[in-house]
Subunit: 331 residues, 2 copies
DNA sequence: CTTGCGCATGAAATCGATTTCTGAGACTCT
DNA sequence: AGAGTCTCAGAAATCGATTTCATGCGCAAG
């Protein structure tokens, strides 16, 4: 691989001049041209490792997410990548499996690789960002909060839970259950809170028995749905607080012959790769791509030196009511 | 951030000794202990950028894939990550959107970041690996081949296409179509080849009109399925050569009231997050995770200096015939 | 005509680790 | 006892870029 010294020798200038040509400093036209020609003929590209060592900051940002197989996070990753790309950054994707130990390790690596910054979906509300904050490395958290005072981008969770529940009541369902994520994840608590307040104001039943806590994956949704259907007073509709649990719930309902609209289903998040007819499910579409682009925009402004106090940006979900649910009234 | 010099000063030794302690060279017990204590009290972690610059190789491998939102590739990524992790490597995930320009850029970055190696799912059969090969940087291609003589891990594609087609014939379908990926992707050609040879040996019709070429995404599957259903002699079954096109085909079938087993569906690849009853679809499960772990194993052995000629590892898919298809005979 | 400023440029320091080189001391073997 | 061999540890070179410092030149102002 050609180095800056090779280019300098071929162009008959000093390495400093070569560096200046590529970093927009003042160099006379003829020399600049000689350098560019030499660089081209050697197909020179600067060694990023050396640059990073000297500059103390690379052009890489880390995106740390809990589950690379969850389409919500891959869509987020797309947003992050698109925006990062356009600002000249590469993205390193790290998967924590919701494990705080793995998360801590990746944060450590981000530091020791001199990465420019981190976009983090925290594994839990007790994630430790002190390493980053102590180093003054920019961090933006996404979707879930931590105890640290850093920039944050989130969904308007409580209204999302409330609106999907309200929509199911509107469609005529009377006993609406909820499958929520683990209590260590704020997002899940808030969405379930939206469900609860709607049930308490519009439902004629006690909400408590109809709230099931599950992990955020398909199997969690399956288990919770099965439990709900086995209740003495089984619900006639369910709200899942994330996409994969929604899939799990639908699988169990399908196995028991209870497909929508016979049984109402609301999901917060998109249903990835569904083969169901559109309009059977009430959905709150989440602005995953925007979540990613917004996070990177905030991160880049910090990298560029912004010093204002930590900001929180809240993005709304968009409700799509099931169109076929109304036919239920005809039953 | 504490450096090796800080640790050396605190422990009263030279930086070289500190380095030796962390790299398993011979250091006397008392000094080693002093260094370890000093490192712990300063919470020292070696700067990976400096290490990479000196060693000319980082502990990072790049995984370059065409579509981060396709579950096939995220499952592959899991395999890659798991195996890399256990060998002490981090994984950088790069998304090409099947764009050779983006791919070339990422390969360039891999070089200039001194990455240890690359696991690549080529965007097309004309991907240019000369930069990597010229530098002597290890590359393993996965799933799709290139013109370069490098290690390769692939699926046994032709038998996959043949077995799923055969299974649909066995179930009683008589006119089986195929939705295949673009011709620039060898995988798609081979799988479609398996379908064709089976049709030619067992079917009583001309295969040509029943082969549709689509992109590898859901919308491609939808368009192709719609075209197939509009044929004068419409098929009664279809084989999709990848997962997402299978989803698209199922969506269209569902919209037209043609759900399996009324219409036979075979898919090469898993159906991610499906809410369909299991056993309705004939599937060839692909060993995605193994694909990833195998690729990294091969890559790591190259990084460690293996010099034997390029190897190709072929992993088989596993057929799961639709269990309910047989009931069709009773119609 | 001289002082001074600015600009282009090269020499050299720097980032933080690893690794080679070198020397000091301990030990073995004859 | 002297030569040869090992082991351990520090000094210094090294990786390849960026950036500070120093210098020489040209041009303008006094």
């Amino acid at each position: 691989m050609a180095t800056i010294y090779d280019v300098a020798a071929l162009a008959g200038v000093s390495p400093a001049t070569v560096s200046r040509v590529f970093n927009g400093r003042t160099v006379s036209d003829d020399r600049a041209q000689r350098v560019r020609d030499a660089a081209a003929s050697l197909s020179f590209t600067p060694n990023r490792t050396a640059r990073t060592l000297r500059r103390q900051s690379s052009e890489v940002i880390a995106l740390i997410i809990p589950d690379i197989q969850n389409p919500f996070f891959t869509a987020l990753a797309r947003g992050v990548e698109d925006r990062a790309q356009s600002s000249g950054y590469s993205v390193v994707l790290c998967n924590t499996d919701d494990d705080p130990v793995k998360e801590a390790r990746y944060l450590q690596i981000a530091i020791s690789e001199n990465m420019a910054g981190v976009v983090l979906v925290p594994a839990s509300d007790s994630s430790d960002l002190s390493i980053m904050v102590g180093q003054g490395r920019p961090v933006v958290t996404v979707d879930r909060t931590t105890a640290f005072d850093v920039d944050h981008v989130m969904i308007d969770n409580r209204p999302a839970g409330a609106s999907v529940t309200g929509s199911l009541f509107d469609a005529g369902y009377t006993r609406i259950a909820c499958i929520a994520g683990p209590e260590s994840v704020v997002t899940a608590i808030e969405r379930a809170g939206g469900w609860r307040e709607t049930v308490e104001s519009r439902g004629a039943y006690d909400a408590d028995p109809y709230l099931k806590i599950a992990n955020h994956r398909v199997d969690g949704g399956r288990a919770a749905m099965a439990e709900l259907l086995d209740l003495p007073d089984a619900p006639d509709a369910v709200v899942a607080t994330n996409n994969l649990m929604g899939v799990g719930a639908l699988q169990v309902l399908n196995e028991r012959g209870l497909t929508p609209p016979a049984f109402g289903v609301g999901v917060i998040g998109g249903l990835p790769f569904t083969t169901l007819s559109p309009g059977l499910i009430t959905l709150v579409h989440l602005p995953t791509h925007d979540l990613g682009t917004t996070a990177v925009s905030m991160l880049v402004s910090r990298i560029d030196g912004a010093t204002e106090p930590a900001r929180t940006v809240v993005l709304p979900g968009v409700l799509t009511a099931a169109t076929t649910a109304a036919t239920r009234d005809a039953d």
